[in-house]
Symmetry: C2
Subunit: 95 residues, 2 copies
């Protein structure tokens, strides 16, 4: 687990915001599937282009904070709580 890359992923307010929304998706998105929330619904809530949102989600996924499921033309993203718990533990241990 590369903590530096994780800190870099978290060093952006929008990415942290997205992570926060996904904590309680039903409070923040109208359409929530077991696989998560689709990119365009996340895009609606941030004032950023589709390409930026897609990249942000990739960055979060690359370090394990979220996971994706492709279904047809949609990609659903949700938090990877198991991994997040490991990351938290690692931060607490290492910091």
């Amino acid at each position: 687990m590369d903590l530096i890359r994780i800190y870099k992923a978290l060093a952006n307010p929008i990415r942290v915001q997205i992570l926060h929304w996904l904590k309680e998706p039903h409070h923040h998105f109208s359409e929530v599937y077991p696989e998560g929330v689709c990119v365009s619904d996340i895009k609606k809530k941030v004032q950023l282009s589709q390409s930026t949102v897609s990249q942000y989600l990739s960055i979060l996924q690359d370090v394990g904070l979220i996971q994706s499921t492709r279904q047809g033309q949609w990609t659903y993203y949700k938090r990877n709580e198991t991994q997040i718990d490991k990351i938290k533990q690692s931060i607490v241990d290492q910091l």
Copy 2:
């Protein structure tokens, strides 16, 4: 407590390294005072210029991870464990 600024401060391997050395300063530095370790001793261990090291320490201090004590011409730095514990708690709560 501004977590984004904290994540930015931590998004650099050298700064994290310094923080780690200061966890057990006696294991990593020959001269350790109750006020901490001086800048030039830290500089000796990283292959970076004095100005960069000084700036890195400022960044860490600005977000509360370390604290400094000026004594004569020396500035000693050490971890701010109280604040670090609060930061850890905040990360665990927010993430």
